[in-house]
Point group: C2
């Protein structure tokens, strides 16, 4: 067994997802995941803190995907433009080839309330972090929190639609549609 | 002990809240609540299904407070106007004399994760129900869900501010401020 090889992390994720889906999340051990992926447990733990984190790895990347474009935007950009930039960036984070993984992952999360809570916690962290970067850019309260919560709502609803059965439009198109619905909702005359 | 008397329900709620706050939610039994309020356990159960429901009673009233004004609105009212009507009605549901109870209740919920989940479930039910009544009025998707989620976000943030330490403005003023922040966020030019 090689101690390190390219793609090990991805193979561990694919293997774990397969085992979670076929035999249940609670019934699957790290030892099984490692053995099935043909690595040692030690290698598993070099990539993931525990089996749950196979499903939640990359939280920093996830938060950074939203906050990076906001921090890099021109100083005079309005909060709505900042949110649009963040959602555009999310499109790059959820390319077509990721959709089957995201769908399978959601199925496992939906079947396990503790994982559902962890997922809600991830969205809550995103709200808090987005509020912070907006305030750092000089957006006042309650505008910063309203913008952050609304952005996460649009993201969450877009993601849910993106992985819905039969949906084949790209993430960006779905998110744009929802941002447009928000705009129309707030000012139907425009 | 009288079998029924006006105010029994309110006395049970006040007594329970007091006991939860002083000795902890988990440590408090229905028997203690009933004895302290000087009623039988049977009387307690005539008012509440269990001790948790002392904190969550009135869910139907809560949902109806939002949906009633929407269902009663003129047929040509826009979704944003419907949401504004619902939030105005919420102001009547959270009068000044309710604020100390709401603050104490929140303290108990924050100290108990299972109660926090129940509270999130209540907000989730509100989102679902609001989406339903908006669709019944002919609002399409994704507009209905966007409107429902946004309304609950504004409600939730307004409520959190209403019970924040030092806040003394009425609920309606706080909710209006947040609706205005949402409008300014989506259409900064107006």
């Amino acid at each position: 067994m090689a101690r390190w090889q390219p793609g090990t992390r991805e193979r561990l994720q694919a293997t774990a997802l397969q085992l979670f889906a076929t035999q249940g999340y609670d019934q699957t051990t790290v030892a099984e995941i490692a053995a099935t992926a043909e690595v040692t447990e030690r290698t598993f733990f070099r990539h993931f803190a525990d089996k749950r984190e196979v499903l939640f790895a990359g939280q920093d990347d996830f938060l950074g995907m939203f906050t990076g474009p906001i921090q890099a935007a021109p100083a005079d950009a309005r909060p709505f433009e900042l949110v649009r930039l963040a959602l555009d960036a999310a499109g790059a984070f959820f390319p077509e080839e990721r959709r089957p993984w995201s769908r399978a992952r959601q199925g496992i999360i939906d079947a396990n309330p503790a994982l559902g809570e962890r997922e809600l916690g991830k969205l809550q962290s995103l709200k808090v972090r987005l509020g912070e970067v907006l305030r750092e850019r000089g957006v006042d309260e309650p505008a910063a929190t309203i913008a952050a919560e609304t952005a996460v709502t649009v993201f969450h609803l877009s993601f849910a639609q993106w992985i819905a059965a039969g949906e084949d439009r790209p993430f960006g198109a779905i998110a744009s549609e929802r941002l447009a619905a928000l705009t129309a909702f707030v000012h139907p005359g425009r």
